[in-house]
Each structure stands twice: as C-alpha cells, then as structure tokens.
Symmetry: C2
Subunit: 190 residues, 2 copies
C-alpha cells in the first residue's frame, strides 16, 4: 500500500495487481508493484485459511501454535513434546509477542496443556493434547486442498523461484527482529 494508489506509467506490463484491484494502470515503480503484490497475495491466501480455520474455532495464529506443538511432539516421541512459550514465539510464521493469550485459548478449548517447569519456575511448558492432534488431523485434508488450489497455476519450478525471490526480497526488511540463530530443534514430520 505504500505507494498503493499509484500512477499511470505505461511500459510496465505485468498488469497483475493493476487489474485485480479497482486499479487501472500498472504501477509507476516495479518496487511498489512487487510490494503490493506481496501484501495482496498474502492477504488473499490468509483470508482463505482464516475462513477454513474459523469454522473449527481456530484462528490462523492458534492453528500455527498447534502445528508447532505437534511438530515438537513428533520430534520427541518418548515425551509430550513440551515447548516453552518463548520458543513458540520464535517459530511462528509471523512473530507474535503475545504467546500467552494464544495458549490461553488453546487451553480453554482443550487443545493444549500447560505445565510449570520445576527447575526454572519462570518458564512454562506447553504441549498438545490428543484432542489437539485429532483436530489437526481433521483439518489436514482441507489445508492440503487449499494449498493445491492456490498452486494450481504454478509449476514446482515456479514455486522454487518464487521462494528464492521472496527470500532475497525479505533480506531488506528492517524488522528482522527475533531472528536469533536458534539452536537446532528438529521438529520432524509435517
């Protein structure tokens, strides 16, 4: 949107967002066009998933937390796969400082449980419940379908190029906060 409502400037002929929105002309500047394309794409896809999740009482954020919890459990088949709140915050796709409340909701819904660490009573371990796992299982087909639908027009090579470009693009973001190297904590499976 910065630069959103923009200017006419023939020459640029990608014509993507331009026709999508009420907007008529391609953007003045490839920078702005790329930016708006990113925002708009994210917003559309997010909306699709939000709709899917909300019908099961989840938001995109709480779903994401659930995924993290399950990933952690699968990485630790012996135990419960407990993770600290802090770690959850780090692994979220879009960093959220307010993990407490996300976990609150999951706990209230019986999808996650908390446990205080005895050795360091500041930290709280969070883990997924069987109900949480079965909800994820129940959701899985819909999620896969939606990914498939989103990618209908994309080849695998396209997807890889897109990821590579976005990674480069993102390198310029200022708010690369919360990006500590982090130790390897392999959550297996997907």
């Amino acid at each position: 949107m910065p630069g959103g409502p923009s200017a006419p400037s023939a020459s640029t002929e990608v014509a993507g967002v331009a026709s999508d929105i009420g907007k008529r002309t391609p953007f003045q500047c490839p920078r702005v066009e790329a930016y708006v394309n990113v925002i708009r794409t994210a917003s559309l896809f997010s909306a699709d998933f939000e709709r899917l999740f909300r019908s099961h009482g989840l938001s995109e954020a709480t779903y994401n937390v659930l995924r993290i919890l399950r990933g952690s459990k699968l990485a630790d088949p012996a135990g419960l796969g407990e993770v600290t709140c802090q770690r959850i915050g780090e692994q979220m796709v879009s960093p959220v400082p307010d993990v407490t409340r996300l976990v609150d909701r999951l706990e209230r819904q019986g999808l996650a449980r908390r446990r205080r660490c005895e050795r360091d009573r500041r930290v709280v371990y969070v883990s997924i419940t069987p109900e949480g796992e079965s909800l994820l299982d129940h959701l899985a087909p819909g999620v896969d379908d939606q990914h498939a639908a989103h990618c209908a027009d994309m080849t695998e090579a396209d997807l890889r190029r897109l990821s590579a470009l976005l990674t480069a693009f993102r390198a310029g973001a200022r708010s690369t906060r919360g990006v500590r190297p982090g130790q390897s904590n392999p959550n297996s499976k997907d």
Copy 2:
C-alpha cells in the same frame, strides 16, 4: 503457516524461511514453502511500514485510504476528488469491508472530510483535506526510503519476475471477492 512447522526433507535447498525462523529444515513441500515465504515477507514489510505510519497517527489501512483520496483528487484537479466509500473499499490493497470506520478516524484527525450526495442520499463522498495532503507529503521520503531499503538486494528484473509469479500464484486464491472488473478511473500521479 498452514504447513508452517514442517518437516525435514533434504533436497529442497532454498533455505530461506527455514533459517529465518527458529526453523531448521527446508520445507517438505515447495507449495508450503512458497506460501510461508509470502506470508512472512508480507508480515515483515508490513511491520516496517506500520511502524513508520504509526509515529504519525496512521495505520497502514488509513494511510492507504489517504493515498486513494489523494490519487482521486489528482485525477480531478478542478474539483475535490471526491470518492464514494464503496470505491475506496475496492481500491484498497487488502480489501476492507469496514470503510466507514477508517474514514471516521481520518475525519476525526482532520485529514479527510465527508459530504452527502444530494442526488442519491445513500452515498457519501469522501475527499482529502489540505492537512491530509501535507501529511502525505511529509511521509513520502520515509516511504520511498523504506521501499528502497527493502529492494536493496533486488534488481529491477527480479522485481518484475516476482510480481509476475505472485500474480500467477494469486490466481488460485478462492477469496477473489470484491474484484469486479471495475471501470477505469485513472487516478493520475503517484
């Protein structure tokens, strides 16, 4: 994030988001990786702009509305460049049903004004005030700088390819709502 906390699966070596987050392994599936890259990139860039705008009492959404208003004014040098709420909603980068409240805030801040249409008293015309214009002018350098910083590592060709890929990607979104063909309403300038 759907598919967010994912799996190991050597072979995919874009390694983008994987290292960005607390996450260690590339994603199982290029689809999911592309998706997460889009979300994450949008979220980082958005955060940068949010910060910039908020220091001047705007959100990304209200800034976007202001841009639309100014674009409309520049397209109509004779008049005030009035636009209906509906039209504003269509032109937003991420579609917002709740234009009323966005305009409420701008009006309260003296950055926009409303006027009822006499011929059809259902519609409300919105236009930018001089204060709104000068705020945009004041903000412009910062916005440009931020775009420049974001694109530091990208060539112009990269940006164009990225836009093209995203446009194709977005074609698969279900929520292509509010995307009426729309008549051409050339807001000139940027």
